[in-house]
Amino acid sequence: MFLIHCPHCQEDRPEIEFAYAGEAHIVRPGPEQQDAMSDAEWSEFMFIRDNVRGEHCERWWHANGCNMFFNAVRNTVSDKFIKTYKIGHKRPSASQIQKWKDAANG
């Protein structure tokens, strides 16, 4: 059972309080955009996900905690969380993720 650092509660909390919520940084198109999208483009948004081997940006929900959705970078091979951050922050760059990893490794 993981400990997950909630960026709102600002503490490590047991995984059992959280729910996974899929890949992060997939923005729902606004109504005008939706109308302009072809079926193929819409399907891409709806159904296609990266399925990353390695660092994955994903969403978690602190359902039995502060009730907030937030984002996390997690390694899908080691399962380790590298960083959690609030919604609204941009998708972290590869170099940013590397910095976080370096910081975590002391």
Binding site: P14, N64, G65, C66, N67
Partner: protein, 188 residues
């Protein structure tokens, strides 16, 4: 018919366990409100209402007849004695006029267990995965968490005093764990 006869929390025994190092009670009728306020308004709301809403998630303020807790970045929970209802509702009516916020009466949604005694930490930990050492869970801390499969709000009002608020239908389940724990203690 008296109000007592109408009121039924579903669990009949007020006391589950009564011993020197652990006492578990079912708390009597309370009023409860969920407050949702924009974080930028807290100072102004506090000034206008005197509610003393804590700013930090997990913080709380225990007053004479009310207990105010911060559960999320824009979420507060107020539990108070029944006779504070009118006073609170007046405050809320006033706030609703001047602020954009949400106040919902959830008095009957929850039931609260009170745990007291040197063994209270152990009793909470049979189902709650949080580290309850004073360093990690100091007096005054509150949080939503779980007790086994039941969502709860855990509050600490003293080194050996805890409250477990849960939705009404989860109360017998939680009480069941306390009963087994009590049997265990008696047999050990």
């Amino acid at each position: 018919m008296s109000s007592d006869m109408k009121f039924d929390q579903g669990l009949t025994l007020p006391e589950i366990l009564s011993g020197n190092d652990l006492k578990i009670m079912l708390l009597p009728e309370k009023v409860r409100y969920s407050l949702r306020i924009k974080p930028s308004d807290i100072a102004a709301v506090n000034k206008a209402s005197g509610l003393k809403l804590p700013r930090k998630i997990g913080g709380s303020n225990l007053g004479k007849d009310q207990f105010v807790m911060c559960l999320g970045p824009d979420e507060w929970f107020v539990v108070a004695n029944v006779d504070a209802r009118d006073r609170l509702e007046k405050i809320f009516a006033k706030l609703e006029k001047s602020f954009t916020l949400s106040i919902t009466d959830v008095s009957h949604r929850n039931i609260c267990f009170g745990l007291m005694g040197a063994d209270a930490v152990k009793a909470v930990n049979i189902g709650c995965p949080l580290d309850l050492s004073l360093e990690h869970f100091p007096v005054g801390k509150v949080t939503r968490t779980v007790f086994e499969s039941a969502p709860i709000i855990l509050t600490r009002t003293g080194e050996d005093n805890f409250g477990i608020e849960c939705w009404r239908s989860f109360a017998p389940y939680i009480r069941g764990f306390f009963e087994r724990y009590a049997t265990d203690k008696a047999a050990a």
